[in-house]
């Protein structure tokens, strides 16, 4: 399990993780979708050599994994850990990843761009995450010439990533802002300043488990530090609003809220069949109860709630039970698993 899933960090009661992604390409080499298998492999080897020959203490931690050598369940698990994208997982001819032991750094090779460096840490630690990603970028650049243009910056396959090539995103658990509908005001305001808010599984998905991903949109004409500073400012405001509204709810001693939290806990502890959507919704309620101090038990910790949210996903479930699970079976096993934790 990745570090960001099992550990907590600053502001962990609301911020689940901080992530930075940097897109880079090699000079004078067509972008991955135009490369044949042999040239794709060349890209992989060049980057791999750059990382293991580099002067960094980080290098010993990395292992190289090829999508074609991973089975379906393993690939799904890496997607759920946010270490690879569904697109990379599908690319079983050229797709590769370099990943470190703590699973805080992954380098996707031959995704949309030749190189996509990703760093992910628990809680609200955007600066630390950026520093880590920046270091990996420098490490690779020691040995590899990047596609770079003085005017347009780092060149990427899709013009939406030009310039800095970075996307910073923060995953937040915002049950109260969502419950009260206040989140809509935030959507509107952030859109106007180049910040996007989405569900965990990307555009158009429901906000499963009240989890939101907040990220920058613009990558060109602004420095990395500014991008991070802006995002931090937005996240801090959302964080304060959520915390304030949680406080108000608690003061009001809303019996409805308490009822909802205890009911959800009851269902999770007793259900025999449960699908992922329902489970996420209920765990979100229980997590809120834990943060508000309404639910108290040795098994009811923030770490356990995050652990549950990660484990009930299909890839992790199948890997835990060491078998492929069909529709009905997986819902039964999921209920079993949740009861074993709570």
């Amino acid at each position: 399990m990745s570090e960001w899933m099992k550990k907590t960090g600053p502001e962990s009661d609301i911020v689940i993780s901080s992530r930075i992604r940097i897109a880079r390409n090699l000079e004078e080499t067509p972008f991955p979708y135009l490369l044949d298998e042999a040239r794709g492999e060349e890209v992989v080897q060049r980057v791999y050599q750059a990382v293991i020959e580099g002067n960094s203490a980080l290098k010993d931690d990395f292992k190289l994994l090829s999508m074609k050598d991973l089975d379906k369940i393993e690939r799904l698990k890496y997607i759920e850990k946010h270490l690879i994208s569904p697109d990379l997982a599908k690319n079983t001819t050229q797709g590769n990843m370099l990943v470190n032991r703590q699973e805080s750094i992954s380098i996707m090779l031959n995704e949309e761009d030749h190189i996509r460096i990703q760093c992910i840490l628990p809680g609200f630690q955007l600066d630390e995450t950026w520093n880590l990603a920046d270091k990996i970028d420098d490490l690779i650049e020691e040995k590899v010439k990047y596609a770079f243009d003085e005017q347009l910056g780092y060149l990427t396959s899709c013009p939406t990533n030009l310039g800095t090539g970075i996307r910073a995103s923060v995953m937040m658990h915002l049950p109260v802002l969502n419950m009260t509908g206040y989140i809509n005001n935030i959507f509107h305001a952030s859109n106007q300043i180049g910040i996007t808010i989405r569900g965990i599984y990307g555009e158009g998905t429901e906000f499963l488990g009240n989890i939101f991903q907040i990220s920058n949109q613009v990558t060109l004409g602004i420095t990395e530090e500014e991008i991070i500073k802006n995002l931090k400012a937005v996240v801090t405001q959302i964080l304060q609003k959520e915390r304030m509204m949680r406080g108000t709810l608690l003061e009001e001693k809303s019996i409805e809220l308490e009822d909802r939290i205890f009911r959800s806990y009851g269902i999770l502890k007793s259900a025999r069949i449960i699908n992922a959507t329902e489970a996420m919704k209920l765990i979100s309620d229980v997590k809120l109860g834990v943060c508000l101090g309404l639910l108290k038990d040795t098994t009811l910790t923030l770490e356990n709630m995050n652990y549950l949210m990660a484990m009930i996903q299909l890839g992790h479930m199948q890997s835990h039970f060491k078998m492929e699970l069909k529709d009905h079976e997986r819902d039964v096993k999921r209920a079993d698993f949740i009861r074993s934790i709570l």
Binding site: P30, E141, P159
Partner: protein
């Protein structure tokens, strides 16, 4: 009744389509119907398609098509037509070849077309120096306007020194 697609499972989803007065029926099992649905969703919206739509073009005339196909990148062979249709480029050289054509699109996405962020350490020496010169020149202007001549003289010397370094780097 068996599924039209896999011919194995019993059909549970029945669809009737009316195409120009011809009634077409389709019977699918649960699995095939779901796969079809997922397929439709996947193609529903993609960023490259969306971007392609943002590029102004009159692609319908055959003359224009010929023109769009004739402009291409000599490194990877990508044509302007392919860029317009897919919304993405083929390699770093494409940005050189299509620069003027895609500048409006880039501006629409990012609001500007000038990179101010990180520069490669090893190869970007000159680029960094030139950027520094640009920044100092801006400061020089400000100093002159505000009549801070002592400051201006200092800036002028700094700029001269940097420009010398840029020239040396380029020759070397």
């Amino acid at each position: 009744m068996l599924c039209d697609a896999c011919k194995k499972n019993p059909a549970v989803v029945h669809m009737t389509k009316n195409v120009n007065g011809n009634k077409m029926e389709r019977h699918l099992c649960e699995v095939c119907a779901k796969a079809r649905e997922e397929n439709a969703l996947e193609h529903h919206f993609s960023i490259p398609n969306f971007l392609a739509g943002l590029m102004e073009s009159n692609m319908h005339s055959p003359l224009n098509m010929k023109y769009l196909n004739s402009i291409h990148c000599h490194r990877c062979g990508t044509t302007l037509n392919q860029v317009k249709q897919s919304g993405r480029l083929g390699c770093d050289e494409c940005y050189e070849v299509f620069r003027e054509k895609i500048s409006p699109l880039i501006k629409r996405i990012h609001g500007n077309i000038n990179h101010v962020g990180k520069v490669p350490k090893r190869t970007g020496g000159v680029i960094r120096l030139r950027r520094q010169v640009r920044q100092l020149k801006g400061k020089l202007q400000e100093a002159i306007v505000s009549e801070a001549f002592e400051e201006a003289a200092k800036l002028r010397d700094e700029i001269k020194a940097l420009e010398k370094e840029v020239n040396k780097d380029q020759e070397g």
